[in-house]
Subunit: 118 residues, 2 copies
Amino acid sequence: MSAEGGRGPAEGVDNVLTALADPTRRRLLDVLAAQGDATATTLADGLPISRQAVVKHLAVLDAAGLVSGARVGREVRYVVRPAALDTTARWMSTLAADWDRRLATIKRLAEAAEREES
Amino acid sequence: MSAEGGRGPAEGVDNVLTALADPTRRRLLDVLAAQGDATATTLADGLPISRQAVVKHLAVLDAAGLVSGARVGREVRYVVRPAALDTTARWMSTLAADWDRRLATIKRLAEAAEREES
DNA sequence: ATAACACGCAACCCACAGGTTGCACTTGAC
DNA sequence: GTCAAGTGCAACCTGTGGGTTGCGTGTTAT
């Protein structure tokens, strides 16, 4: 186990957002998704940063539940995990809908008020 | 006008993600969405930070297209803008689906290979 | 057995995001 | 006309996120 000990979606969304905020991390995810499998070392020499940097990024991604690594012999294979991403996508979508709803309501009220005073 | 001069969704998504990564900024958005309307000064004394801090956050949110401000007399009214958020939500959703697809393919191949060698 | 490869840990560096304070400039109220 | 409210701009401070290097530890190959 690595992340998520219950506690509702809010916590997770937070981690996912901060994780995705970094471009390097997004590139790592892209490569991982494309290859389906990769070690920190492998990923490192596909990017202009050291292995340690990659390791740190993977740690962040893992804490967000976006990635998970399993030891295979002397190396650690990392894989992408869609669940957390999907959760966050839904959260965001709901939020957008909520904003829309509120804006619509406000607009309606404004028009009503305008009609009132004429 | 404030943000977005064409250039495809990628750019925008980047800004939105970094904007949403900060908890203070998310709170600001919540308050804005709830009130439908607010000035930097108003927002500031609802939070434990200075007006200037709020102004900077609003600038970031505006650059991401999540918010827009209009001058009304001596104050500037800020409003929430769902469009950018919605775009990002879709992007994320698509990405999640993409990951799922790839993982499914890989699993299928693995099973095929296993069946092969037995 | 030993060399090479991959990982884990720790110390360290530095740019910059988030925050503050102070002051000048408009705009509205009285 | 004058005072207060609200904004805009700039300088400044500080923690930390992203990065590096160095070294010790396991694991596989020869």
